[in-house]
Symmetry: C2
């Protein structure tokens, strides 16, 4: 795989807590295409991203990373379907319609987590994705996400 620029580093005006490149108090996750319909993100938590016990990653942070990884994949796919580079021409924007996370095992706070998303359905109005989150080779969460196309003025 050739060196790529992260999807989030091409999306214009993205101030998002989960993935805005300039949101210094945010997670700043980075997503990359790994196939036609597949993308990957590796995220290293910080200590304050913990759950009740300090050795596990917070479930809300897991949901946030999944949300941003899948929505940015949908945005990048929107540009791809339009035959344009991410950020080129008229802005394409998706918002989360549904985020359904199933937690399978706790993820340690001191290891990176790997998110792998796959587009399972796309239409004019929405893109449906499946995502897994694993840590050290162990599946920690799966998720089904509906990304809804929203106007640029959103």
């Amino acid at each position: 795989m050739a060196e790529q620029i992260a999807i989030q580093d091409r999306i214009p005006d993205n101030h998002c807590f989960g993935c805005g490149p300039d949101n210094r108090q945010g997670l700043q996750i980075k997503s990359y295409w790994t196939g036609d319909d597949e993308s990957r993100c590796e995220f290293t938590p910080r200590p304050h991203h913990c759950a009740g016990p300090t050795h596990y990653l917070n479930g809300g942070i897991i949901a946030t990373a999944i949300d941003c990884h899948t929505i940015c994949t949908a945005i990048a796919d929107g540009y791809r379907q339009a035959g344009r580079e991410v950020g080129g021409g008229e802005k394409i924007w998706f918002a989360t319609g549904r985020l359904d996370v199933q937690y399978k095992a706790p993820a340690p706070i001191d290891k990176p987590v790997i998110l792998e998303a796959k587009i399972v359905e796309r239409s004019e109005r929405k893109t449906v994705l499946h995502c897994t989150l694993s840590s050290g080779g162990r599946l920690c969460a799966t998720a089904d996400v509906v990304a809804v196309r929203v106007p640029d003025k959103w």
Copy 2:
């Protein structure tokens, strides 16, 4: 309703990003009982909790607040069912099994959001809750959450 201590301020050893009272970079949400099976939380976002556009609250932060509000309600209910004050005696701990959030409308970043949770089912092993999140009287998200009882050593 008499003055209450927040559920999170009674749960011992809670360092959670979403609701740990001492997690300074966290959300520090506070939940209160409003009925036998119902609880309420008012959360005021900070500017960096934004979505892609800076005027909306991030969907991951919405999921995080819902996660913590419902799980802490399940924990408090666990103590109640055991006939004890939250934090009294043997620790009771729940983790998120499933977090299914349906987003209905964007929530402005500059207004508090109100979360209202209701316990819809409880058994030895799990507690099921429904939760709404609204802003300025407008419903922004609904969620169904499965809280799973986990051992104290979790």
